[in-house]
């Protein structure tokens, strides 16, 4: 069994569009995730998908499931939640969602950066690492700062994952399909 939790940035900056990620980055992420989850679930029933959102806070929005109707319904309800960006809190919620699950575990963080709240991502990564959770990050470029890259690189390195930068919808789909279909770096 493979468990994947998407950790989705719903902070204010995701309200803007960039390149063809329109009308907003968040809407593009919702659309892309709908396509990607449908595709991976149709190919493999041994995958369970969960969801967590973060802004200045973080909370789970979807317990692990392979019910695509539930997943799509949850994605359709996603909205911008507020100020701040606390991906570390989001990652911890994701690991907690998978606490009782057996099999491979993976968290995929989708963000446009600007990390400024909550538990530092590299400290949350320690929990993921101890819980044997692979952490990948899809980073939407445009407003990423050096400090965001520092935290993302440290996290993916520690947790055997990958960081992929995207700027277009096609890149976002490709990145999410790739990361959702494979486990960590060999």
């Amino acid at each position: 069994m493979l468990n994947i939790v998407y950790v989705i940035d719903t902070s204010l900056s995701m309200r803007r569009g960039v390149s063809d990620l329109v009308p907003t980055k968040l809407e593009a992420v919702k659309e892309t995730l709908t396509i990607v989850t449908s595709k991976i679930l149709s190919n493999n029933k041994k995958i369970k998908i969960g969801g967590v959102v973060f802004y200045g806070y973080a909370y789970p929005i979807l317990p692990l499931t392979n019910d695509n109707v539930k997943i799509i319904k949850t994605l359709s309800r996603l909205r911008i939640l507020g100020e701040g960006s606390a991906p570390g809190d989001g990652l911890i919620e994701a690991v907690k969602l998978m606490r009782r699950s057996s099999g491979e575990k993976k968290a995929i963080i989708i963000t446009d950066g600007g990390f400024n709240k909550g538990i530092p991502l590299n400290i949350a990564a320690l929990y993921a690492w101890n819980s044997r959770v692979i952490v990948d990050i899809v980073a939407i470029s445009g407003r990423l700062k050096d400090v965001d890259h520092y935290y993302m690189d440290k996290t993916t390195r520690m947790c055997n994952g990958k960081k992929i930068l995207v700027n277009k919808k096609s890149e976002l789909i490709k990145a999410l399909l790739e990361l959702s279909s494979h486990l960590g770096n060999p």
């Binding site: 809190d89 907690k96 606490r99 009782r100 538990i119 400290i123 320690l126 929990y127 101890n130």
Partner: protein, 168 residues
């Protein structure tokens, strides 16, 4: 099986080297004691779970040492709530006793009530052992601290006693 969650403060107010030493001593003893699962949380203004309840906690001291000193005013109540959540999430038919060890400086007054958190733990059949490890003397906690009957002050020479108390 005893399920034990250790919640250790790492702030500029706590005696971090002494706490690290205590954690290493504790892990050495616990490893020789059968039927114990250990979880680990580090906290300051937020509480970070680092190891979920399991029998694989050998590196706990190393992990504590690896974490940087966290900023802000320590919120021990957050650590208690996080620990209770971990104990409840991972409780199973093997669980016989649930315990939390809270290691705190109690130098700065937190904004979240520790008393309420201790009451919440108690309502969930969880015993909390409070260990004080402050950098300097303080008085704010006395009222709440006195209500917590199992509080002790961490010193190098009373570590064996604390561990014995913990294993009762």
């Amino acid at each position: 099986m005893i399920d034990l969650v250790i919640a250790a403060e790492k702030s500029k107010y706590s005696r971090n080297e002494l706490i690290h030493y205590f954690l290493n001593q504790l892990v050495d003893t616990l490893y020789k004691t059968p039927f114990i699962r250990v979880g680990f949380i580090v906290y300051c203004k937020y509480a970070v779970p680092l190891i979920d309840l399991s029998t694989e906690y050998r590196n706990l001291g190393k992990i504590y040492a690896h974490i940087p000193v966290l900023r802000g005013v320590p919120e021990p109540a957050k650590a208690i709530y996080e620990a209770v959540e971990m104990l409840l999430d991972l409780e199973d038919q093997l669980t016989l006793k649930k315990k939390i060890v809270l290691i705190a400086s109690f130098i700065k007054e937190p904004s979240i009530s520790l008393e309420d958190a201790l009451e919440y733990a108690s309502m969930n059949d969880t015993r909390v052992l409070i260990i004080r490890a402050p950098q300097k003397k303080t008085h704010w906690i006395l009222a709440e601290y006195e209500k917590a009957p199992e509080g002790v002050h961490l010193r190098k020479n009373n570590i064996p006693d604390i561990i014995n108390e913990l294993l009762k």
